[in-house]
Structures are given as C-alpha cells and as structure tokens.
C-alpha cells in the first residue's frame, strides 16, 4: 500500500508540475471555452424561438449544451491523455531510473498500480476543470444534477481506461514518441471497435459490449449501469495487469 502511494504521489506531482500539463490544460480550456460559449449562445437563441406563444417546451440545456461539452471532453481525452501518460514508464526506462524501481523492495504490481493512480489523478484534475463549465452554468440556469454526475462518473471511468491503455503503451517502449502514438492508436481502437460490430451477426452483441462508446452513452443518459461500470473497471484492471506483466518481464531479458 505504502509503495503504491509513494509511486503514485511522486508521479502525480511530476505530472502536475510538468509544463506539459499546463500546455494541455491551457489548450483544452481554450477549446472548451470557445465551444461552450458558442453552444450556450445557440441554445439561448433557440430558446427564444421556442418561447413564442403556441410552442410547448423549449430545448433542454442538458441534452444540448452539456452533452456536447461532455462529448468534446471525451474526444479531447482520447488524444490528450496518452500525452500525459506517455512518460510514466518510458521516461523511467530512458533515464535509467527504472533501475531504482526494479531494485527497490517493491513488486511489479505496486509499480503498475501506483503509476496508474498517478495518471488517473491527473486525468481527474483535467476532468475537474471541464466540470467547472456545467457547474458555472447552474448559477444562471437550473437543471437536474443527477445526469451531470452520472456523466462525469462515466467520464472518469472512461478516462481511467485511457490512462491504463496509455500506461501499457508506455511500458512497451523507451521512446516517448512511440509511447504516445501507441496509446493513441489503442484508444482509438477501443473507442471505434463498435464500428466493426455490423448488425445481426452472432458477434454483434459481443463487439458492442466491448465498445467504450456504447457504455459511455449510458452514463451520459443519466444511467449508472452496473454492467458498464464493471466493464470499465475490468478494462482498467486488464491494462494495469498487462503493464504489470511487461514490468515483470523486464527481469527476464
């Protein structure tokens, strides 16, 4: 437990104090601010139209502005989280600090899990920044909080999966460039795997179940489904486990 915490804390600090985090956070913030303002204005415009007499209900802010924000955030995470996680193990190998980890009285599992939590923590920090937009909106327009939180729970779990995948990519190579590219490819594969599902094939339900997007949609719709939560947690566990195997195998070369 202590070893996991020690590694997680060190790496989280390294991630959050790295200029890269601020570049990424800054870019995301610019994008979020721009798109959020635009969709808010659009929403206001359309609400005014619907507010004419004879119309029953106007557009719902949740389904338009907030959902768009969350989809954008998810899309950004696919590209941005591998850039955060790329250094987690690749950098240790490149700088030879890996030697310190592998000769310390800690297990490969503790290394993998500690690194995962560090990456996840940084991802949650980014998600936290994006949450400020819908929260600020609540100051002026009231809407139910439930779906917002289920969507963010989903986002944090999905971000966990991206982080685990990125960590695994980082374990495979010494090169930071390769690490980020691999992480990106794995993430995109995970996200778009449902495209290959087709319709009516015997494997369609299986492929759909394996698709990250399919599960995330449920969360956005305001449903915290047990099977989706289990799926995402298993995906995280799988990739942390694969990372552990790679770390462990470095002893046998």
């Amino acid at each position: 437990m202590r070893a996991i915490f020690t590694i997680a804390w060190k790496d989280l600090k390294a991630l959050l104090t790295n200029p890269l985090f601020y570049v990424i956070g800054g870019m995301c913030t610019v994008l979020w601010s721009y798109t959020y303002m635009r969709s808010l204005l659009e929403f206001a415009e359309r609400s005014r139209m619907f507010a004419q007499p004879g119309m029953d209900s106007g557009p719902n802010i949740q389904n338009t502005v907030i959902m768009a924000h969350i989809s954008l955030t998810n899309l950004l995470f696919i590209f941005v989280l591998p850039a955060l996680t790329m250094r987690l193990l690749a950098e240790e190998k490149r700088m030879r600090t890996y030697d310190l980890l592998l000769t310390s009285p800690i297990t490969a599992t503790q290394i993998a899990v500690g690194k995962f939590f560090a990456g996840w923590g940084a991802a949650v920090a980014l998600a936290g920044i994006s949450l400020l937009y819908p929260l600020a909106t609540r100051l002026v327009v009231s809407y139910p909080m439930g779906p917002l939180f289920s969507a963010y729970l989903g986002m944090i779990l999905v971000a966990g999966a991206y982080v685990a995948v990125g960590l695994f990519a980082s374990a495979l190579t010494e090169s930071i460039m390769l690490s980020v590219v691999l992480g990106l490819i794995f993430n995109i594969l995970l996200w778009f795997i449902s495209q290959g599902a087709g319709e009516g094939h015997f494997y369609t339900p299986v492929v759909e179940y394996l698709s990250l997007g399919q599960h995330f949609v449920g969360f956005i719709m305001g449903a915290v489904k047990l099977n989706s939560t289990v799926f995402l947690l298993s995906l995280i566990t799988l990739f942390v486990f694969l990372t552990q195997r790679v770390v462990e195998s470095s002893r046998w070369r």
């Binding site: 700088m95 600090t97 030697d99 592998l102 000769t103 310390s104 009285p105 470095s250």
Partner: protein, 310 residues
Amino acid sequence: MIEVRELSKHYGERLAINALNFSVKKGEVVGFLGPNGAGKSTTMKIITGYMAPSSGSVTVAGFDVFEDPIEVKRRIGYLPETPPVYHDMYVGDYLRFVANLKGCDRTRLTGLVNSALEKTGLQDVRGRLIGNLSKGFKQRVGLAQALVSDPEILILDEPTVGLDPKQVAEMRQLIRTLKGQHTIVLSTHILPEVQASCDKVIIINSGKIVAENSLEGLSKQMSSGGGHSISVRVRRNQEVIVRGLSSVPGVRATTNMGNFIEVQTDGDETTVERVAGYVVQQGAGLLELRVQALALEDIFIKLTSTETAH
C-alpha cells in the same frame, strides 16, 4: 553475506558471464575489477535482483535473490552505472522518495535523509533541482540514494566513471569513509580504484573470474616463482657492478638503467642478501636497494590479456 554460485548469463547468444563463483563476507570491501565488457555490471544487476540469471544462484544474507527478492532488495543499496536520478526532483525530496520506496521506518525518514546528505556532503544542495547539478554532484546524489536506507550492503557500479580527477578523489574518499559501516562491492575497470578502496579484489575477464585474493595476496601469488626484480642505486663504479652482479648466484639478469641497476633474481631472499653483500663489498657506495614485487598493474594486464588471447 553474498554467495554467488555457478552464475551464468546469456544475452541471446552472447555469454556475458560464465559460471562465476565467489563470496563476500560481512564488512568486506571488495573490488570487482575487469576491462569494459567483462561482465561486471551484469553480475551486479543479478545480485541486486534487477534481472534474472540464465543459471546459477545468488544468496544475500541467507535469502535467495529469486525466491525472496523483496528481502534481498531491502538489504541492498545500489548505484547503477548511470545514477538513477529524476531531473525534475529536488535532492531532498528525491532522497525521501527513495527512503519511502525502500520501506524505511516512517519516523526515521528525516533522520535518514539528513544523514545521507551529510555523508555525501550534499547538505547545501538539498533544495536544488537534480537536473541542474553537475555530473559529479549527480553521481553523489546517486550514492546518497544507495546509502539513504542505511543498507547492510552497498553495490556500486563504477562509482567514479566520468568524473574529473578532483571529483574522483572526493568519491574515493567518500567510499573510504563508508568502510566498516557497510559491506561494499564496487566495480571498476581502473586499477588505482581498487588500490585506493578495497580489501579484496576479484578480477574478471570475458565473463570468468581470473583471480580472487586480497591485494597483498594477489601480488604474492603472482610473483611467486616469477622472481623479484631489485633496483640498486650506487654512487661509483656502476658499470663494474653491473658486470659483477650477473655472476652472483641466483641473479638471472642485470641491466644498466642509467640512474639505477635493474637486477632480475630467482625471488629467493638469500639472493637479495648476496646482491646487497656484493655491492657493499665492492665499496661502490650503496645508495638504495629496493625489492619490487610485481605491481598490481602488471598482474592486471597479465591476467586480462592472456585470457583474451584466445
């Protein structure tokens, strides 16, 4: 403290070390000496549990490195060839991180970090970023890292490589001060390092141990049967003495070196006595007479070059 048995390691087809056997006793300072590529780092990496051997076994303080890696790693402080430092960390934070990794008692952390800083003379830079330190200081931080958990065993892989002469001297001084507090194994490809710091030397070449002995023992071992050389300095009649000495029983050859005479003998002490007696008897004005055992340098070259010949 450390027992190495029939240790071998292949990197693919390449045999890096071949059936090594040696042991290190508690409190000893052992120099692991060999030319580049001899297999020193490989052996150390296996002892520290960094990687597994192809065959053979290592026990440290009674624990097998592969069955109880955690117990072994708890007892070892390791300085790899490249100091394993994070350039974006502060010296003090880094040492605290390492002490935490090593599982040191939480209440002692601050004390341990302070004492490692003090031993390595790093107090003044504890608040500096490691990335901004000079190579010599990074190496010291690497040593402080190995020391911070106050381990029973220190394994130092070429601790002075790449340092300038002043830094080398400081590093050697530092290692000398650690003597007695830890069992130390240090590797080097340069001889003075061993002479400066070690009790015992293991010479390794092309993955095999070619000699294992104390420093004096090694010199003796090599010179026995090989003979001594005596250098003699006289005030007068150098030419006559050179010619005369060659007929003294036990003397194999004499050479006039200009400033002194080099006499090769059979290595017997009575020969030394006869040589001294002859020079005095001739009234040549004996200024100096020195018996030279084979220098460690020569031993090293002899051992490592004969091995690589095939």
